[in-house]
Amino acid sequence: MNNGPLDGVIITEFTSAWAGPYATLLLAFLGAQVIKVESQKRLDHSRKLSFSTGKIFKGEDRSSVFNNLNLNKHGVRLNLSKPKAIEIAKKLVSKSDAVMENMRPGVMQRLGLGYEALYQVKPDIIYLSSSACGQKGPDNKYVGYAPTFASLGGASFITGYEDWPPSNFTGSIDLRSGATAASAILAALLYHQQTGEGQYIDMASQETIAVLIGEILLDYVMNNKIRMRKGNRDDFMAPHNCYKCCGDDKWISIAVATDSEWHSLCRVMEKPELAECDKFSDVFSRFKNQKEIDEIIGNWTINYDYYELTEKLQKEHVAATPSLSSKGLFNDPHINSRNVYDQVEHPFIGKDWVLTPPWKFSDTPAKIRRHAPLFGEHNEFIFCGLLDMTKDEIKELEKEQVIY
C-alpha cells in the first residue's frame, strides 16, 4: 500500500532515453508499480550521459539524469536477444496491467513482444507504443529525437527571434511526449476498470507536439497564413517582453494588457508623463509603438535587481516575473515554499536533487518513494517475488547472459 491514486497498478516498460521513462515515472509518482526492463545489450544512454550538462557518468549507477527520470521504479535486467529472456518478459507482462515501449516500430514484433504476442499472454493488457511518427503510414519507420519531434510538430519554426533561425528545444519536448503517453495509459486504465478490456495505443511524438499549436495551424487553414517567429511578442498586448536587469544574464518579463496596468507601470517607472502620452494611450497605439516602449522599459530595468522590480510591479498589479535559470528556480522562495525540489538519497550518487510530482492531491498524494533502480537491482525481488523463480534459476540465467 502506498496510498497513491494508482496503488495496485503494475506497469512493465521497455523504454529508454527521456520520453518513455518520463511517461512511466509520472505513473510511478501516482502510485503504480513500474518494472523497468533493461540490459547491458541495450543500455539506456541516460545512465551514461547527460544531454543537458554534457557530463559522462562512470558505470551505470551514477547518473543523476537517470535517477531523476526513473524514481520509484523497480529495475530488472533481461537480454531480449535471448529467447529465454522473452519468455520471462512475457511472464512479467502476464502480471501487468499495462506495457509501454518506445523502440523503433517493428522491433518489439521482431523480438516476439508485439501487441499480438502479448495479447496471447494477457488478453486484457494495455499496450502503448510511442514512436517518432506513429506505427502506420508512409513515414512510420522514421527515427527521431526531441529536436525532430519539435520541428515536425511545428513548434520549432514558431519559436525564437523574428530575425534569427527557428529555435531548437531541449528535453521539454520529450517530456511533453512522455506526459501525453502517461495520460493515454491512464485513460485506458479507466476504460479497463469499467469493462475489463485492454487495448493497443499507437502514439506519435510529432503529433503530441502538433496538438499544442492547434490554433496556429488553424490560421493556415482559415487564412493561408504561415506563422513566423516573434520572440516574446503577443498578438495584442504591449509591452510584452523580457528586459535586462542588473547582474549576469538576469531578465524580467513584463506584460501589460489594460490601460490601468500601463498607468501602474508608468507610475512604478516614475514616468507619469508616459501615461499621458498619446502614442501609448490605448492597446492599439501601445502595440504599434512597442519598440519604443521596449527601449524605455529596458533602460529602466537595467539598473535594478529583477526580484526588487518584480515586487515593486506586483504591488501595483502589473504582471511581472523574473526569467529564472536552474539557479534562480532553486533559490526562489515561492518554489521552496511549495516544496518543488526534494533530495533523494542514492546509494552511489549520494544526496541527489530532483523535482517532486507536479500536482498536489488533497487525499492521495503523488510521492517520491525511492531512488531510481540500480542496474538490475530488483532482479531477485521481481523474478523471485513476482514470478516465483528460485535464486538458483536466476544464477543460471545470469551465466547464460539471459539476465544480463
Binding site: A210, A319, P358
Partner: protein
C-alpha cells in the same frame, strides 16, 4: 442499455465534467477529456463568453466571437452553457450541476471560489465523490499566490523561457517564451493526468479530492532534467547552447531549415553517407563522439554547406531512408500538408455552423478499441442552455426565459 453501449465505445464514456475555465490551460484539459468521450459541460459567463472567443485566428482576420480558431479548436466535443456565478441563483444552479458531476475543472484565482461559496470544502458536502481540480498561476499557497501573471510571465518564471531560443546568437538578447500558447497547453496536459488519476482512485474508494495545480510547477515539470543542474552540478543550462556540442543542429537548407542530431555512431555514418561520404569525413576529427564534439563548429559548417544545396524534402526523405535522425523545420503549411499526418488520421474536419468547414488537428494517439471521435463542433455561446437546464436539470421553458431575462444565463 444505451448507456452501456456508450461506455463500450468511448474511453471515458459516462464521465461527467464541469469546466469553468477560460483561454487555454483549463479548456485544453477539458478538451482531452471530451475527445476521449467524457461529457464536458463548459460554463461561460453570459454575454462575454470565454475570453478565447476574442482571440484569433479568425476567418479573413475579422473578429467574431463565434468564429475564433482558438476557441473552436479547444472546445470541440463539449457542451456549452452560460451561467453567471456572481449571482446567487447562478451559484445555486452551479451546485446542481456539480452534484451530478465526477470532475470539476476551474481556473479561478486563489480565494475566488471561496468567495462565491463554491470552494472544495463546500462542494464536497454536496458531492463527496467530486474531483475538484484548481488551475492557478502559482498554486493555492505560497509567496506568489496572488501575483498577477500572463502566459509570458509564467513561461519565464518556470524556467522555460531561460532556455530559449536554443541557441541564442548573443546573450544580450532576451530569453523568449515557447511559440504560440505551448506553455498554457502544458498546464492543461499536466492537469489532465491528475484528474484521470484521481478518477481511477475515486472509483475504488468512492472518495473524491482536491487537486492544487500550479501553472508555474506544471511548466517547470517539463524541464525536469534542466531544472536540477544547478543544485546537483553547480551548472546553469542556458540558451548559449549545448555544453557538449554535436555537429549538426538547426541548419539552413535550400528552401528552409532542417535539424539533424546524430548521437550514435551508426547515425553519424548515415549522415555522412547522405552527403556522399566527403573526404573530410574520413579524417581523424570524425573518429568518435569526442573528436566530433571538439570540432563541432567546423564540422557543422561543412555539413551546413552541403545542406544549402539541397531541399528540405530531399534531405528528409533521403536521410531517413538511411535511418538518419533528420527532419525539416515544418511550417504550419508543411504540418497541414504532411503526408504522414494526413494518412494516419491526425486531422479531422469540423463543420461549424458559423465558421464553416475546417480541417483541424485532433489527437496524438490511436486507441484500437475506443478511438477518439469528433462528434460535435465547438458550442456557440449558450448553445446547450436548453439541453442542460431543461433536459438535465428539469427547469421548464418559462423558468429558462426567466433565467435569461435576469441575466443569470
Amino acid at each position: 442499455m444505451q448507456n452501456k453501449n456508450v461506455k463500450k465505445s468511448k474511453t471515458l464514456g459516462g464521465i461527467k465534467v464541469i469546466e469553468y475555465c477560460q483561454m487555454v490551460s483549463g479548456p485544453f484539459c477539458g478538451k482531452q477529456l471530451a475527445d476521449m468521450g467524457a461529457t464536458v459541460i463548459k460554463i461561460e459567463p453570459p454575454d462575454l463568453g470565454d475570453a478565447a472567443r476574442k482571440i484569433g485566428p479568425f476567418p479573413e482576420d475579422i473578429p467574431n466571437a463565434e468564429k475564433s480558431g482558438l476557441f473552436i479548436y479547444l472546445n470541440s466535443n463539449k457542451f456549452g452553457i452560460t451561467l453567471d456565478l456572481c449571482k446567487p441563483e447562478g451559484v445555486k444552479i452551479f451546485k446542481k450541476l456539480v452534484m451530478e458531476a465526477d470532475i470539476l475543472i476551474e481556473d479561478r484565482s486563489p480565494g475566488d471560489m471561496e468567495k462565491k461559496g463554491i470552494d472544495y470544502k463546500e462542494l464536497k458536502t454536496i458531492n463527496p465523490r467530486l474531483i475538484h481540480a484548481s488551475i492557478t498561476n502559482f498554486g493555492n499557497s505560497g509567496h506568489y499566490k496572488d501575483y498577477k501573471a500572463y502566459q509570458l510571465n509564467i513561461a519565464h518564471v518556470s524556467g522555460q523561457g531561460y532556455l530559449l531560443p536554443m541557441p541564442s546568437p548573443h546573450l544580450d538578447r532576451p530569453p523568449v517564451k515557447p511559440g504560440g500558447n505551448i506553455s498554457d497547453y502544458d498546464s492543461g496536459l499536466v492537469g489532465f493526468l491528475a484528474v484521470l488519476a484521481a478518477l481511477y482512485r475515486m472509483r475504488i474508494s468512492g472518495k473524491g479530492q482536491f487537486i492544487d495545480l500550479s501553472r508555474q510547477e506544471a511548466l517547470m515539470s517539463m524541464q525536469r532534467v534542466e531544472s536540477v543542474t544547478y543544485a546537483n552540478d553547480n551548472f546553469i543550462v542556458s540558451r548559449k547552447g549545448r555544453i557538449r556540442p554535436m555537429p549538426g543542429g538547426i541548419m539552413q537548407c535550400k528552401d528552409g531549415h532542417v535539424v539533424s542530431i546524430a548521437p550514435q555512431e551508426h547515425q553519424w555514418e548515415a549522415l555522412m553517407k547522405l552527403m556522399g561520404n566527403p573526404e573530410w569525413s574520413k579524417k581523424d576529427w570524425c573518429r568518435d563522439l569526442q573528436t566530433r564534439a571538439e570540432n563541432a563548429q567546423e564540422l557543422t559548417k561543412l555539413i551546413s554547406a552541403w545542406m544549402k544545396n539541397h531541399t528540405k524534402e530531399e534531405i528528409f526523405r533521403k536521410g531517413q531512408a538511411l535511418s538518419c535522425p533528420i527532419s525539416p523545420l515544418q511550417t504550419t503549411e508543411d504540418v497541414m500538408n504532411s503526408r504522414q499526418l494526413n494518412e494516419t488520421g491526425f486531422f479531422v474536419e469540423t463543420d461549424h455552423p458559423k465558421a464553416g468547414k475546417l480541417k483541424m488537428p485532433f489527437v496524438p494517439y490511436r486507441f484500437s478499441k475506443t478511438p477518439c471521435k469528433l462528434e460535435r463542433s465547438a458550442p456557440l455561446l449558450g448553445e446547450h442552455n436548453k439541453k442542460v437546464f431543461c433536459d438535465d436539470l428539469g427547469y421548464n421553458g418559462k423558468e429558462l426565459v426567466k433565467l435569461r431575462q435576469s441575466g443569470i444565463i
